[in-house]
């Protein structure tokens, strides 16, 4: 059953990702990407990480992508036309992207995973609650990254205001 669900969502994810890359209209790309995000959330549920799944939907699909959509509407750019200044770019990109995929599959297929396992088995996590388990780690072992995150967000806020306000003052002239 879980294999079936995996293939269903994997197919959706790959097709949607392909659509995001190929579709001309940026809004369609964004919508495809939303689909990828949601199917990845399903993957996380399959991997017994529901909290990450929900966070993925809330932040990626529900916030980040909305921002993308806003910016697309803000700039309302046209669709990509032609190959642009770099003629060989597209062919080479696809060629080397494929080569990278082949290499990655070769590497990962031959990889021997370490047998060492930690203590957070799915059963252990379920007993404690996924959110609680992640939170317990985050607020103790990863306390410093957590606090630094706030500084990162602060910098982002200030940066955005500076960039956006600059634009506004220009447009007033």
């Amino acid at each position: 059953m879980s294999l079936l669900v995996f293939y269903l969502f994997a197919a959706i994810a790959v097709l949607a990702a392909l659509g995001m890359v190929v579709l001309r209209n940026p809004v369609h790309s964004a919508l495809s990407l939303a689909l990828v995000f949601v199917s990845l959330a399903a993957m996380y549920v399959l991997l017994s990480a529901p909290f990450i799944a929900v966070a993925q939907v809330m932040i990626y699909a529900g916030a980040i992508l909305i921002l993308f959509v806003f910016v697309i509407m803000l700039l309302s750019p046209g669709t990509d036309q032609g190959v642009g200044a770099l003629k060989a770019q597209r062919g080479l990109a696809i060629l080397f992207g494929a080569a990278l995929l082949v290499l990655l599959i070769a590497v990962l297929g031959g990889a021997v995973l370490p047998p060492t396992r930690g203590t957070f088995t799915p059963e252990a996590i379920a007993a404690e609650g996924d959110t609680q388990a992640v939170g317990a780690l985050l607020f103790t072992n990863f306390l410093l990254p957590f606090e630094i995150t706030s500084i990162l967000l602060l910098v982002a806020i200030v940066g955005v205001i500076v960039l956006a306000k600059k634009r506004q003052s220009i447009s007033k002239q």
Partner: protein, 648 residues
């Protein structure tokens, strides 16, 4: 209390940091409070640590790890402090004497425009010295070692606008670097040999791994001693110390008498396990110490510059200390180190007080008769002079006597004789300086109208100058008084066995092991008698020469003109070095500059540049300016790297 050990070096560092950044904006009193206060607090903490060690008795060895500094494979160096009786005593000395000298400096440097800079350097020096003393491994010690060298350089050339000061700083730095190079090699060799730089590891492994007199240990100890020779101004690398008197007098007192120059002694004492395994090296240490002691004392006989007399005296006394540690009397060496710190710092500070009063004049030919003008300076200088001369029951008496006794007892009769002779010379030259400065006729005239401004850089006033000497402010006299008390009484902690309990020997037991068997009382009394007699003779001769019949030294100088000129010119060592090392070095440098650098290296570099220019011209075509093209190249690179890793 041991948890607060880090405060001891941290406080002066904080003081230095704050003064370094803000001293320009701060009022002087705040600079003083920070500079003096940080060292004062540090002293209080050190005092508490000292009593912790004292209270712990035989268990008084603490290892305090602060921070894992270099963890590379099995090369693991911690910033860790070692607190044992040895370092605890050194801590007290460094922070205590340092504190007094800081206080003194507030008066002495009051007029200087670079007041904040001075305290920054001074605090930084205290911090560096504490790192040197506290470090629990050779690398940390080496860091402190290098840092004190830097501070010494900065402080000697503090008045860097004067060429002499700048040159003296350079000379000190370069000369000591020669020794430091040996020290560095020694440290590397220790790591190669023992696989660790921790004192605890090295000292535990050394006796198990090597027999007595193993060549490798001898090499290590000789290399370490090379560092000590440079830092502690022994033959043949002593030449920088007299020149270092160009620095401000508190610097001379703190760095070039009480603390930094004794680092070599401390290091040898710290490495006593290694030196005990290398009898040859110990022998070298003792011989160099004794010869230096005598050599410097003879030079001091004729010098007319008060501070230089003290400088040569310092070299001589350091020689004593090396004689002590060289004959395995480590406790005695450190004991002398401590008492010397008190009385030599006092001598320097008193000399500084004289300079303060005499408008920077330090040439004894222009002093004299200051006894009545500077009562406190006079009394304290007198106490210090008695101490250094080994006058009975003064501190120098106990420590010097112990070294001599140990030298005698260990069978180094010749070295003992040299030491004894030096003791006599010491008593003579120090009282010569004392009489010439404070007694005799004033060789200057009172000038009521001209209130002397305080200038401290040695000025060369020719002829018969006029001054209005005055006693220094309390900020200078109080440290003098405190040091004087210490110089008088400090010796009682290490009384010879015939006179009472030797507290110091028991205190050092956790470091140096139990004391050697006591010297037979008869021998002991004989040795004491000899050194006391020699000291008294020295004082007496000085009195006879300079107070009773002042024409004698003039006659003597005329009669033994050859020897006098040789001594007056300090055995022409500077000239010798200049001819043998400096001048060829300069020639070599000129050759390297004009031939190797300009033609070969520059030619190569320019050619490389030209080649690069043409090569990059070819590469420029790749820089299209299109971000996507660069990204594509990144992908291509990734594919190539992964592919290569796969196929390899």
């Amino acid at each position: 209390m041991i948890n607060y050990l880090w405060l001891v070096p941290a406080l002066p560092l904080a003081g230095a940091a704050i003064n370094a950044i803000f001293s320009r904006k701060m009022p002087r009193w705040l600079v003083s409070v920070l500079g003096v206060g940080s060292v004062g607090l540090s002293f209080l903490v050190a005092l508490a640590e000292f009593f912790t060690v004292l209270g712990a008795g035989a268990q008084g060895v603490f290892n305090v790890s602060i921070y894992s500094w270099i963890p590379v494979g099995n090369f693991k160096i911690d910033v860790a402090f070692l607190l044992d009786p040895l370092s605890a005593l050194m801590l007290l000395g460094v922070t205590g004497v340092g504190f007094l000298i800081h206080v003194y400096s507030t008066g002495y440097m009051a007029e200087d425009e670079s007041y904040g800079r001075f305290f920054t350097y001074l605090n930084l020096f205290v911090f560096s010295m504490l790192i040197l003393v506290l470090g629990s491994n050779y690398l940390l010690m080496y860091v402190g070692w290098a840092l004190v060298g830097l501070c010494s350089y900065l402080l000697i050339s503090f008045w860097f606008t004067r060429p002499a000061a700048a040159a003296a700083g350079k000379k000190a730095f370069i000369t000591t670097r020669i020794g430091d190079f040996g020290f560095g090699l020694g440290v590397i060799l220790i790591f190669v040999t023992f696989g660790s730089l921790n004192f605890a590891d090295v000292f535990a492994r050394a006796p198990q791994m090597f027999q007595l007199g193993a060549p490798i240990i001898t090499t290590i100890t000789l290399l370490l001693f090379a560092g000590a020779v440079g830092k502690s101004a022994q033959l043949p690398l002593y030449v920088w110390l007299p020149d270092a008197m160009e620095g401000p007098t508190p610097v001379s007192a703190l760095i070039h008498a009480a603390t930094m120059v004794t680092a070599g002694v401390y290091m040898v004492a710290r490495s006593h396990v290694l030196f005990s395994l290398a009898p040859f090296s110990s022998e070298v240490v003792a011989v160099i110490g004794a010869v230096t002691a005598l050599f410097a004392a003879t030079i001091a006989l004729t010098q007319m510059d008060l501070k230089r007399v003290l400088a040569y005296s310092t070299i001589s006394q350091l020689g004593y200390m090396f004689l002590g540690v060289g004959v395995a009397a480590y406790g005695a060496g450190i004991f002398h180190l401590m008492t010397h710190a008190f009385f030599k710092a006092l001598l320097f500070l008193a000399a500084g007080s004289v300079m303060h009063a005499m408008n920077g004049v330090i040439d004894m030919r222009q002093l004299g008769g200051l006894r009545s003008k500077m009562r406190w300076t006079y009394i304290t200088f007198f106490a210090a002079a008695l101490a250094i001369s080994g006058f009975p029951l003064f501190s120098g008496f106990f420590s010097k006597d112990e070294i001599l006794a140990q030298a005698f007892e260990s069978g180094h009769i010749i070295l003992w004789a040299i030491g004894l002779l030096t003791a006599g010379l010491t008593a003579f030259y120090i009282f010569r300086a004392f009489f010439l400065t404070f007694h005799t006729q004033a060789r200057w005239t009172e000038d009521e109208g001209r209130k002397t401004e305080s200038r401290h850089s040695p000025s060369s006033v020719v002829g018969h100058p006029s001054f209005h000497p005055h006693e220094s402010p309390a900020s200078m006299t109080v440290p003098l008084a405190i040091l004087a008390v210490l110089a008088v009484v400090a010796g009682f902690v290490g009384m010879p066995s015939v006179m009472g309990p030797n507290f110091l020997e028991g205190f050092f037991a956790p470091v140096f092991g139990e004391a050697a068997a006591a010297i037979p009382a008869g021998t002991e009394w004989m040795l004491i008698g000899a050194s006391v007699a020699v000291g008294l003779i020295g004082i007496g001769v000085a009195y006879w020469f300079y107070i009773a019949s002042p024409e004698i030294p003039v006659n003597l100088a005329a009669q033994f003109k050859g020897i006098y000129t040789l001594l007056w010119n300090k055995y022409y060592v500077d000239e010798f070095y200049s001819a043998v090392f400096v001048e060829p070095g300069r020639r070599l440098a000129m050759f390297l500059w004009q031939v190797i650098d300009v033609q070969v290296i520059d030619g190569f570099a320019n050619g490389l540049g030209r080649a690069m220019a043409s090569f990059s011209g070819a590469l420029r075509g790749w820089q299209t300016g299109y971000a996507r093209a660069y990204a594509l190249l990144m992908l291509v690179g990734t594919v190539i790297v992964i592919g290569w890793l796969m196929l390899r």
